[in-house]
């Protein structure tokens, strides 16, 4: 490992000031960052430990029905908070579908949103990767690319964003609260992530020194509490990143859908909000044909970036499945939540 300085930041102001310096990174749970450092894939010169920042480890339920999640809230604490799981079930499901219990106990919500891609070439120091070294080339192209992007990729990078948590957050309009050298700002999570374009090394809109202090879900998100799911397809039952995943929400009045939400994971370098699919469901019945139509719209622009054409059809099927499962009133299921979601056992017990 390379030499680096370590600093325990006492407050946000100091953290931001230290975070500005060249080569500085914030250390939260460390479950992603330390791995990357051990592999010599990132070489920070200064670690600014934010674990002791006061007040950032709280879940605040806002008077209007929304929720403000402090950046340092641990993934398991959030998923297991009874009120949070009841109001935002798809988000809790997404959290519990990720990593392992030990990792979730250590991982913070901001760290989760900020985690780096799991592209195997990014992780292999011997491979060329534009994200690690701009201009070096991208070995994933023409390589083993079954898990790579089908939406929003560029010739420079075809990686996907690995976070499960971020997928329902994008579906339900989460906002990132940022503190930085220029002061505070709020940015919709959907706009927080950058697509690769010509600069795959730039992943978010964060400027040097900018720190996520909280993530907010608006009150509207809780209106989907009765009909919201996160479904994840992966290569084995647990401990695997999504091949594709979907966060879906429906508001149903009578036999009509009055509002739909859909975001896809594992398909692009950010969670992919499918607004055309959402729009087409407005005022329609919650039926398979309608969902199939929405699924076609959701993947309209998809194209394979390698040997991953199958993901397009798989994602369509998942969208239909997610909406079908979402349409079933799921309040009865909420406590305790199953950890693994596209769970055949659950399907079989239906």
């Amino acid at each position: 490992m390379n030499q680096f300085e370590y600093e325990l930041a006492p407050n946000v102001e100091n953290a931001v000031a230290s975070g500005r310096s060249n080569g500085a990174v914030f250390l939260a749970g460390g479950t992603n960052l330390i791995d990357l450092m051990k592999g010599n894939l990132v070489r920070p010169t200064r670690l600014v430990d934010i674990n002791r920042l006061p007040g950032l480890d709280r879940i605040e339920f806002l008077p209007d029905g929304g929720v403000r999640i402090g950046a340092l809230v641990r993934n398991s604490d959030l998923a297991h908070d009874p009120k949070f799981a009841r109001d935002f079930p798809a988000v809790a499901e997404a959290l519990l579908s990720g990593a392992s219990p030990q990792l979730r106990n250590a991982a913070t919500v901001a760290g989760n949103v900020m985690q780096r891609t799991r592209c195997p070439y990014f992780y292999d120091a011997a491979s060329a990767c534009n994200k690690r070294e701009p201009g070096a080339g991208c070995e994933a192209r023409g390589g083993h690319s079954r898990l790579q992007a089908i939406l929003g990729w560029s010739a420079h990078c075809i990686a996907t964003h690995p976070s499960d948590f971020s997928v329902p957050l994008v579906a339900f309009d989460a906002v990132v609260e940022i503190d930085g050298p220029q002061g505070r700002r709020d940015v919709a999570l959907e706009d927080f992530y950058l697509l690769p374009g010509n600069t795959p090394e730039r992943e978010t809109i964060l400027a040097p020194g900018e720190l996520i202090v909280a993530i907010r879900l608006p009150a509207q998100a809780a209106l989907f509490a009765g009909h919201a799911r996160y479904l994840k397809i992966r290569d084995r039952t647990s401990y695997a990143f999504a091949v594709v995943s979907a966060a879906a929400g429906l508001r149903i009045e009578g036999d009509r859908i009055v509002e739909a939400r859909l975001a896809l994971g594992g398909v692009a370098l950010k969670p992919w909000r499918a607004r055309a699919a959402e729009a087409c469901l407005m005022g329609r019945r919650a039926g398979r044909e309608e969902f199939a139509e929405a699924s076609m719209l959701a993947l309209q622009e998809a194209r394979p970036s390698g040997e991953n054409e199958f993901k397009i059809e798989l994602a369509r099927r998942l969208v239909v499945r997610a909406f079908e499962r979402t349409a079933i009133d799921n309040t009865a299921r909420l406590s305790p939540l199953p950890a693994s979601i596209v769970n055949l056992t659950e399907e079989i017990q239906r």
């Binding site: 195997p120 292999d124 390589g143 079954r146 290569d235 084995r236 647990s238 798989l314 099927r317 079989i348």
Partner: protein
């Protein structure tokens, strides 16, 4: 006489001798050991081409890098650059030509691990690419083999097929598998005085590490001592390939005159060392209206990789297991070990047996499909039975436990009721399909090569009655040490806590075989018993003299030694022996009787006996996502009179789940340039605890002592249960059939990953919804 018996001998469920220390972290693996002063860290520079000539190898920057103490290439090897376990000329370090990506071209030692690793990146190599043969198919076409093709034959298969009422041809394939032992390959070599070398090696085969290190260093065997206390898993991956790592460490240590540790990272481990052979099988079969196989002509091709290593014996065992539990009256099986420009494949639990057993099941399901019968019925009608009980290589199968196992399984797994439920479920569920299969296995026990079936043990009884136990078998977590300790405890009739287990060392037991072929407790247990019997007879003579009687009448029981109504405690007798100047130390030796095999004609009785098992496996697939789950597994396994039921059940469960990984999710992917793209857990998926079947019942066949006089009438356990997991594939295949019909299901190959399942559901057709089918291949 006192009726006391010991409580911790054989047939008891004793916990693993290191279980508590495993949990506490105080069971030391090589990397946990205190590092000797001046220890250097080794690292390997790998080729990044599949097949190329090295035009220029520039190591100057590596040599100049901080902390680097020495860099060695093929030319710096003092002895022979040869790490071949059987064949000659399998180089340790590539010399001018590289034959696979990930082949070692140079080794370095540096002051720290990071320095060694970083320095390796500074190498500059210029290659001239040579044509690379990457697939079984390519090697078959070019007739590139690492050993001469093998042919096993009985009767006239061609004629039987031609005259049979029905015949068909088919093809199947199964992928390879990485061992994925938790402890990656490691060795620490420490130079001793007078040119001698001590090596801690994580190896299943200390003697072979000794031999290869001696060959590389141009030293006599006696100058090299290899020691292993335990491995963090091995599964065959540390049978021949551990000597590569130990050999490199020894070379560096000899050159530098300092101890050297070489521990591979997971990526390098997966690139540099071999895996289970992937398999392609093609066949023609003739059968009658009931599905009885009358003639079978089969070709089995294994991907051997760049050198032979153990591929010859692996292929032999594959051929010897094509029959599994089925009677094949007229049969011809040809085996090809294909030379490819990929890493040399090696031993892996089952050693080719699973590949052969997998192949015959493709024959069974195709017959069932053709005749419109259930695969169950076709399996059943082809089982070995009275008068139809010799294998294609001419060995009588002896006691046949298959019928009993399958009968007991019917009730244990509640099969009739569940089949009804599954049919109902499949009729009603729109996109989940289930299937339940029953499956029986037979596995031959003994090394195919008779000379390997020998073992030694060394026992000392001390004057306080405690016993020091050593034998040639190695501990890889499988519980061999505790089983042999139980055997010694039973022999002396002292509690096992008095038997002290010690690490396996070539200077205590020489000329050993690998701990492999499931033979560990069979042969080492017998050797330990032989040593105990020698010491016991000496002790009995002293007891007889003391009490006045015949040594033959002396009885060891419950910590005491009896003659008539007189007795003496075991420690007191040990003390007395010393006083009477009688040796309390002995070596024991065992060789398996009654086995022979003629490699030229591929006939003989290579196996001392067979192990049997049966299982009922229920799988479900999601026809829209391709996901699969193994929902319930019931196993009844034949362990003879089990030496340690708890350890045996652990082996059965672990072996099954490992096989489940092979059949359902573990997939090795090479790109077109021959580079392995799945060399880390990020891309290579092994089963996790959540993939273990939620209902998993394992029973040992009761009251079934081995008909052969094995150690306390037990049976070997390491490999046979692995093969039961072929049932996972069969159940998934039946579920695909339930959804899309048998013709579609027959296109499924292993591993049955979600993508493979979707492809099969689409009939495996070109342009089917998900994946392109591999180019359609012509048969034969």
């Amino acid at each position: 006489m006192n009726a006391r018996v010991i409580a911790s001998g054989v047939h008891q469920s004793a916990i693993h001798d290191s279980a508590a220390r495993h949990v506490q972290g105080s069971a030391l693996y090589i990397d946990d050991m205190k590092e000797p002063e001046g220890l250097l860290h080794g690292w390997v520079i790998l080729s990044d081409r599949a097949h190329a000539r090295i035009l220029m190898l520039d190591l100057s920057s590596v040599e100049a890098a901080e902390g680097v103490v020495c860099v060695m290439t093929a030319r710096d090897i003092p002895g022979l650059n040869d790490a071949g376990p059987i064949m000659k000329g399998e180089v340790l370090l590539a010399d001018q030509i590289v034959e696979h990506e990930g082949q070692a071209i140079a080794i370095i030692a540096a002051r720290s691990f990071a320095q060694a690793r970083d320095a390796a990146k500074l190498v500059r190599v210029t290659y001239e690419d040579l044509p690379a043969y990457l697939t079984i198919e390519a090697a078959l076409q070019a007739e590139r083999f690492v050993v001469a093709p093998l042919h096993m034959q009985r009767g006239d298969a061609a004629r039987a097929i031609a005259e049979a009422p029905h015949c068909l041809s088919g093809e199947t394939s199964a992928g390879g598998q990485d061992h994925f032992y938790l402890e990656t390959q490691i060795a620490v070599a420490t130079p001793q005085e007078n040119g001698e070398m001590h090596i801690f090696s994580s190896t299943q085969h200390p003697t072979e590490v000794q031999h290869i290190a001696a060959r590389l260093l141009a030293r006599p065997y006696a100058a090299i001592t290899v020691e292993v206390r335990r491995m963090g898993g091995a599964f065959g991956g540390k049978e021949s390939h551990a000597s590569l790592i130990a050999g490199m460490a020894a070379l560096l240590a000899a050159r530098c005159g300092e101890p050297v540790k070489l521990r591979l990272s997971r990526d390098v481990d997966m690139l540099l060392t071999g895996k289970r052979h992937d398999t392609l099988a093609r066949f023609s079969v003739g059968f009658d209206d009931a599905g009885r196989i009358l003639g079978l002509d089969m070709m089995i091709a294994l991907r051997a990789g760049h050198v032979a290593d153990l591929s010859g014996p692996v292929l032999t065992r594959a051929l010897c297991h094509v029959d599994n539990v089925y009677w094949l009256p007229n049969v011809k099986v040809s085996g090809y070990a294909c030379k490819t420009n990929t890493v040399s494949n090696t031993a892996f639990r089952g050693f080719g047996g699973p590949q052969g057993m997998f192949a015959i099941e493709a024959v069974i399901v195709r017959i069932a499909e053709r005749l419109g019968l259930s695969s169950e019925a076709v399996r059943q009608i082809n089982h070995y039975g009275p008068g139809q009980d010799t294998t294609p290589y001419g060995q009588s199968i002896g006691e046949n436990n298959t019928p009993r196992l399958l009968e007991e399984l019917k009730t244990a797994a509640d099969i009739a009721r569940r089949r009804g439920e599954i049919a109902q479920f499949n009729a009603s569920h729109p996109y989940i399909k289930k299937a339940l299969v029953t499956y029986a296995v037979k596995f031959g026990i003994s090394f195919n090569l008779p000379s390997l079936n020998q073992a030694g043990a060394l026992l000392h009884v001390y004057t306080d009655g405690s016993v020091h136990l050593n034998h040639g078998g190695t501990e890889m977590g499988q519980g061999l040490y505790v089983k042999v300790a139980q055997i010694v405890a039973s022999c002396f009739q002292i509690e096992r806590e008095h038997v002290h287990i010690s690490s396996t060392r070539t200077d205590k037991i020489p000329n050993t075989s690998a701990t492999a072929a499931s033979s560990g407790s069979d042969i080492n247990g017998m050797a330990a018993k032989a040593a105990a019997d020698i010491i016991k007879s000496r002790m009995a003579a002293i007891a007889a003299a003391k009490f006045g009687g015949a040594a033959d009448d002396v009885v060891f029981s419950g910590g005491y030694v009896y003659l008539g109504n007189r007795s003496i405690s075991f420690p007191d007798l040990a003390q007395l022996c010393w006083a009477e100047r009688v040796s309390l130390s002995a070596t024991g030796y065992y060789r398996t009787p009654d086995i022979h095999f003629d490699q030229a004609s591929m006939t003989g009785s290579p196996f001392y006996y067979f192990s049997y098992g049966a299982c009922a496996t229920e799988a479900a697939i999601d026809i829209l996502t391709g996901e699969n789950r193994i929902l319930r597994v019931d196993i009844i396994h034949d362990t003879g009179a089990s030496l340690n039921p708890a350890v045996d059940i652990g082996q059965i469960e672990g072996g099954f789940v490992q096989g489940q990984g092979w059949m359902t999710m573990e997939e090795l992917v090479w790109d077109q340039a021959g580079r392995l793209r799945t060399h880390a857990p990020s891309t290579y998926k092994i089963p996790t605890s959540r993939d273990v079947p939620p209902i998993f019942n394992t029973h040992l066949l009761a009251d079934a002592p081995n008909a052969k006089p094995t150690i306390f009438r037990s049976k070997a356990i390491g490999e046979p249960p692995f093969t039961l997991a072929i049932s996972c594939f069969l159940a998934i295949q039946e579920a695909v059939a339930a959804a899309a019909g048998w013709p579609a299901a027959l296109t499924l190959c292993a591993p049955a990953t979600p993508e493979a399942i979707l492809r099969a559901l689409g009939g495996g057709k070109e342009g089917s919804a998900f994946c392109e089918q591999k180019a359609a291949k012509k048969l034969f």
